[in-house]
Amino acid sequence: MRRHNYKLWKYAIFSMLLVISVMGLGFSAMSQSLSLTTTSLKQDPIKWDIKFSGTNTVTPLSSGASSVSCGSPTITDDTATLGSTHLSAAGDGCKYALQVVNNGDIGGKLNGIVTATTSNSSGYTCSQVSSGRVLSCTKSGDTSEILVFPSSNASITASTIGSSTASTIASTYVNPLINSTLAGGANTYIYLYVFLRNSPSSTSFSGLNFRTTISYTQN
């Protein structure tokens, strides 16, 4: 009897061990690894190169009888420094045609224009209109106004802008430059205008210096 029970115990234990082994083997097999491989990743030597080409023309815009002097600009890759500008009568102005080139591989998009004074001892008070797209300078007790703005339009004269407000000038003549694109290998002109609107009560003024910053980003 006891020998019989002992045999039964042996078979029971063996069977249980077999079950545990089978369960263990089955559990370790239920696992799956998936692989995701990139063969190779290249970076080409892309060039970003938008700058002033150095090519430029300066056009005095005179009301007729007055003497207008538009100084020649000194140009580097990213800076065009205008020479002294002399405006004396209403309608006088200077047009600076500055060529911009894209010698890079990537198209650029013009996304910012800001004109601001760098120093001012002229007696005029300047304000940035339309987030700096037009610089308007006026003088207390004087009806004259100095306007500075860039444009893609090559044909603006004092008559063109007439008595338009600075904000109207910004929306009409400056804003079209925003989001304009310049493809790799292409070039374009940006025209910077300086106008004297209405004759100043004082025959001369000086000491007004400004900077126009034009920003391009990847297109």
Binding site: N5, L8, W9, Y11, A12, S15, M16, L18, V19, V22, G26, F27, A29, M30, S31, Q32, S33, L34, S35, L36, T37, T38, T39, S40, L41, K42, Q43, D44, P45, I46, K47, W48, D105, I106, G107, G184, Q218, N219
Partner: protein, 199 residues
């Protein structure tokens, strides 16, 4: 003397009888229990384990101009995906691959791990997936990421269950996240290993 012997014999006999009685009584208070398994079956026809990639994948290119950007084709088998040579050259360039994982078995699976293996040709920062974050590798200008959405905003995290018969989509996003341009460079193979276990 004889009387004493007889008395001694009597005591011994009594003790023997008591001992026999105790033994018999103890033997009677004992039970043998048997546990017997009749058969243990393993039914391969009813239970299957099968989780793998399925379908095809067409990459979506991101960024501005196509100059210096091309997305390599994806070759898909059940256990692996291989992306052919890809070119990303400027900030914002990207290639996004939607990949479908299917549980064709009868047992639910659980995502146990997602582990990146960096290209050997460049220095990388690698991050395994966790229960709250995706796995990714940042190798210089290039970031490789396994995400739960095409825009990368949803994480592909561990601990998620893939039910029997179910599918899930994981997005491989390879992007130029550097801010400067390269003078020209080629990274060797990068790899992600996705491991599912029984749920």
């Amino acid at each position: 003397m004889e009387t004493r012997q007889k008395r001694l014999n009597g005591i011994l006999l009594t003790m023997l009888m008591a001992l026999v009685t105790i033994s018999v009584g103890y033997a009677a208070l004992s039970t043998t229990l048997n546990i017997t398994t009749s058969t243990v079956k393993n039914d391969p026809t009813g239970v299957t384990w099968n989780i793998g990639f399925t379908g095809s994948s067409t990459p979506t290119a991101g960024g501005t101009s196509a100059t210096g950007r091309s997305c390599g084709a994806a070759t898909i088998s059940s256990s692996s995906v291989s992306i052919a040579e890809t070119t990303l050259s400027k900030p914002g360039d990207s290639c996004t691959y939607p990949l479908t994982i299917k549980n064709s078995g009868t047992i639910a699976g659980k995502l146990n791990s997602v582990a990146p293996t960096a290209p050997t040709s460049t220095s990388c920062t690698t991050t395994n997936a966790t229960t709250s974050a995706s796995a990714q590798m940042v190798c210089g200008n290039i970031t490789y990421k396994l995400a739960g959405s095409a825009n990368g905003s949803t994480n592909f995290v561990t601990g998620t269950t893939l039910a029997a018969g179910g599918t899930t989509t994981v997005y491989l996003i390879v992007s130029y996240t550097g801010s400067s341009l390269s003078s020209g460079f080629t990274q060797s193979a990068g790899k992600f290993t996705i491991t599912y276990g029984q749920n």
